[in-house]
């Protein structure tokens, strides 16, 4: 039995050496990945571009080529321009706030203190929780009647009880709320990445800076942050993608309202293409995501390449 097994193993081994050289097996191993990319990413992408130049509608009878007609019409729509502005604005605002907060947290969590493990765990929680659930939580936190934030502000006598802010009902406050939820979700992730970046700096380097006469801010901005730049860009690029492509937060929190003031490209594309049945216009809107994502992808690949060289 044992002998048979070894013989079989040897046989197998010989076979597998032969198979490794055959292109068929190689292709078979490789194809699931190709299939996955083609079916789930490539197809919808090509379809979106195809629809963007057509007059496709949900339940429509035929599809005709209409050239740039869809792009012309959405560019004239104020809601679209608002969505584009929001997408870019939310992404930039969220990334700035996330980077500042994540840096502060990373500095605070670097040195050991009693209960650090628990604090780290609590900070990581928002990242582990599903976005949709977290956003539903925030919907209640920011509710016009039951908001705990309003309640605390009233209790502190900062706002009057019968004239409370409508967090999700006023355009500026609603925008700020969307950014807040994005920050809440991204800070844990960035904190963990930046913490790793900080710990990777040899401890003699900030010590040398201290002896050279640098204070806290100079050490932070001229030594630590520049040395963490590669890892900061990873956090930044990931955060950009998460915020720019996200529609869950907007969809659940405000559904684009009030009056499309918090609409972003993904949520507006969904509202137009799926809810509003105008597939072609929705596709055209989503195509506007491509240049930004291509740029981010390019920067990421360049960074990965640099990391390989270093």
């Amino acid at each position: 039995m044992a002998i048979g097994a070894t013989a079989a193993a040897r046989n197998n081994k010989i076979k597998s050496v032969g198979a490794a050289q055959s292109p068929v097996l190689g292709f078979a191993m490789f194809s699931p990945a190709v299939l996955y990319i083609v079916l789930l990413i490539g197809m919808p992408f090509v379809l979106a571009i195809f629809y963007a130049f057509s007059d496709a509608r949900i339940g429509g009878s035929g599809i005709h080529y209409v050239g740039l007609e869809n792009f012309r019409s959405i560019l004239q729509s104020p809601s679209f321009r608002q969505s584009l502005k929001n997408s870019i604005g939310f992404t930039i605002a969220a990334q700035i706030i996330v980077m500042v907060c994540a840096n502060i947290l990373a500095i605070a969590l670097e040195k050991p203190f009693w209960g650090r493990g628990l604090v780290r765990f609590l900070i990581l929680l928002p990242w582990v929780a599903p976005v949709s659930l977290g956003t539903i939580g925030f919907k209640w936190i920011l509710d016009s009647i039951y908001s705990v934030i309003t309640w605390v502000l009233v209790w502190l006598h900062l706002v009057r009880p019968f004239d409370t802010p409508m967090w999700l009902g006023e355009p500026m406050l609603a925008k700020a709320s969307v950014v807040l939820v994005h920050c809440w979700r991204l800070i844990p992730f960035s904190t963990v990445i930046l913490l790793a970046g900080r710990t990777a700096i040899p401890k003699e380097i900030p010590e040398a800076a201290a002896i050279d006469g640098a204070g806290f801010w100079r050490t932070l901005f001229q030594i630590n942050l520049p040395m963490m730049l590669p890892i900061i860009s990873v956090a930044l690029l990931f955060g950009t993608i998460f915020t720019f492509t996200d529609m869950t937060v907007v969809y659940i929190l405000t559904n684009g309202g009030p009056f499309d003031s918090t609409q972003t490209l993904p949520s507006y594309a969904f509202a137009t293409g799926i809810t509003g049945s105008d597939l072609a216009a929705g596709a055209a809107i989503s195509v506007f995501l491509v240049p930004v994502l291509v740029l981010v992808a390019y920067l990421m690949l360049r960074m990965a390449h640099r990391a390989e060289l270093a």
Partner: protein, 346 residues
Amino acid sequence: MAVVTTRNLTKVFKEGELGAVNDVNLETHEGEFLVFLGPSGSGKTTLLRMIAGLETPTAGEILIGGKVVNDLTPRERRIAMVFQSYALYPHLTVYKNIAFPLKAQNVPRHLHKDKVEWAASLLGIGALLNRKPRELSGGERQRVALARAIVREPSVFLLDEPLSNLDAKLRLSAREELERFHRRVGTTTIYVTHDQVEAMAMGDRIMVLNKGVVRQIGTPKEVYDDPADTFVATFLGSPPMNLIQISGMIAGFRPEHFRLNDEVKESAKLGFKFRVENVEYLGAEFIVSGILVGGPANEKKVIARLLLSRSFEIGSTYDFAVAERDLKFFDATTDKKAQVRALSWQ
């Protein structure tokens, strides 16, 4: 006025445990090259880091230029330190590395260029100013670290094993360079090392530490010829001092003083029967190890260092002797240096 003084300086990392540094009293002389020598874990680096302000002392005082600096940050102490790893800023060019202390201490910007160039030329790295640290060799990095330390003209230099990252050949030339550098700038320097050869070669004075306690401070000649206890006696010198127990004392003699009986011309000498067990030929000298036969130190392993080229039979016994004036005595219970005593047992 002493540049650096410590008074009963103590550092305890974990309460209830033996301190890393215990009760160190130290006073540097103006412009001297002082070496902290000790095995790893002896507290020499902790002591240096306390002087630099990177560790807080548990007890005691540190004075720099006559002023207590315990509560001052490293920045306010106006010292310079070179780390074992050099700790160059990897994202800055050599020029910016050297200019960093000037920037940090708000030296007017128009003075930077001259000062950096002065420091760079002092160390012969003027051609490297536009390079990044990763493009430099080990020796060049060390020079950049020194230039960064010298550029602000500090009152004291602290060097933490700066040669230990270099290979053996480079270490020798870097050592000479450091000595020349010190002679030229004349700044008081504290140098930490575990290498007794480095300590002997470079130090004006050596402070020998073990387990956080100062065992001896003295010139290289003093610590070598007149060790304060058995630890210093065996830590300095390669091979180390031979120690044997004679009539309630510990007697020590250096391997180079343990010679064939015929060659010890002094009349006051102590004879031994020495059975050779191993001979190492090192070119300029022989290291002969073996054991003593008979007498109170029977079977004790000792080492002789001989210059002559005569052959020894392994396993044979020879007549060896030590001149009495070359014998050091230590108390058998405290291991401390004891008064010379007349001895004879044969």
